[in-house]
């Protein structure tokens, strides 16, 4: 069951009312944990490299997400604030100018068409969609109020971003990728990862329906999955956890010896055992 979005009936108006504030925030961007403070409206580039307007690298009905979300109309925005070596969409996520320019109105039309043809939800993903909050708000403002909206995020956004997003998405599908800051820094060049992600997960659990995703990485069961599972059990008991087992050595995985393969059977069994030990609420 979806938790009802706050102000459901006024969602379009709520989104529209925040657009100018969100756009102004790009003048000194602190939407994510990097706090670059660059003026994106003048095309200054922070760590993500994103400008004022996003590009779309994929917009289609998809079935790979969690069962309670599919079929979903997935909208992939280019650009990301992480640099995960194993990124499956590295060429688009690391390059905010990949893909096509499309107006929020046109995108909303595609989404409405998909919904009319049986899509259950609309998912904004990336890259990282929270880099592009003005565009998200403009698009949400054009969508029907009864559409179920999903925000797929890496959970690195700030309180500034969350204030602009609160009440607009039925589900936050948030990644908790690394169980410690060393792996996060080595594989994704992100600092203070665990503190930031945990802050966002706790906030999301309190404000929306939350699904926590963890992609099992070869060689990272003990250092990443086990601590993630332990923290979830202690801090978000009963939270929906989606354990993704389909790692493949994409993009720059070859730079890291342990990421040159896929998850083996032993690792998979161990991961499931850890989930059982911590009584996690695994979803498919």
């Amino acid at each position: 069951m979806f938790r009802r979005v706050e102000l459901r009936n006024g969602r379009s108006r709520l989104a529209a009312s925040r657009i100018s504030t969100a756009r102004a925030a790009l003048a000194k961007c602190t939407l994510c944990a990097h706090h670059c403070r660059v003026n994106r409206l003048l095309n200054q580039r922070g760590q993500c490299g994103a400008g004022p307007v996003p590009r779309i690298h994929l917009a289609q009905v998809e079935m790979a997400d969690e069962l309670e979300l599919i079929p979903t109309f997935g909208i992939a925005l280019s650009g990301c604030n992480m640099r995960c070596a194993f990124c499956i969409t590295g060429a688009q996520s690391w390059e905010p100018f990949a893909g096509e320019l499309i107006t929020p109105g046109d995108l909303a039309c595609l989404a409405k068409d998909a919904l009319a043809n049986g899509a259950r939800t609309v998912t904004f993903h990336g890259g990282e969609p929270t880099l592009h909050i003005p565009f998200l708000l403009e698009t949400v403002a054009e969508l029907p109020t009864d559409a179920k909206l999903v925000l797929k995020t890496n959970a690195l956004c700030t309180a500034t971003a969350r204030k602009l997003l609160v009440g607009l998405f039925d589900v936050w599908c948030a990644d908790y990728k690394f169980g410690n800051d060393d792996c996060a820094e080595r594989l994704a060049t992100v600092q203070n990862y665990t503190r930031t992600v945990r802050e966002n997960l706790l906030w999301a659990a309190a404000h929306t329906d939350l699904i926590v995703r963890h992609l099992l990485m070869p060689g990272h069961i003990d250092c990443c999955w086990a601590p993630v599972a332990e923290w979830l059990a202690a801090n978000l008991p009963g939270a929906k956890v989606s354990l993704r087992t389909g790692f493949w050595p994409a993009w720059q995985s070859y730079l890291h010896a342990e990421l040159r393969g896929t998850i083996n059977q032993n690792e998979l069994e161990k991961a499931v055992e850890i989930a059982r030990k911590f009584k996690l609420n695994l979803i498919e």
Binding site: E62, I88, A116
Partner: protein, 71 residues
Amino acid sequence: MQRRQAETDILILPDGRVLAQNITPVMAIVLSQLNPADRQFGLRRAVALRLAKRQAITNRSRTHTHKRTAK
């Protein structure tokens, strides 16, 4: 926006495992035929078939409406 072709990425491993990203409804059906033992593909195939059925009903209903309008 130019309508792009839908995309799916597939990786077939030497041990027979099939991994996929950006699975479209049609591809969900194909993947479950490729690897019938895979529970995840099977579950997604079921959803894809329900979607296809619903779309067929919707299209049939639209066709009937158009026919009535034409008369």
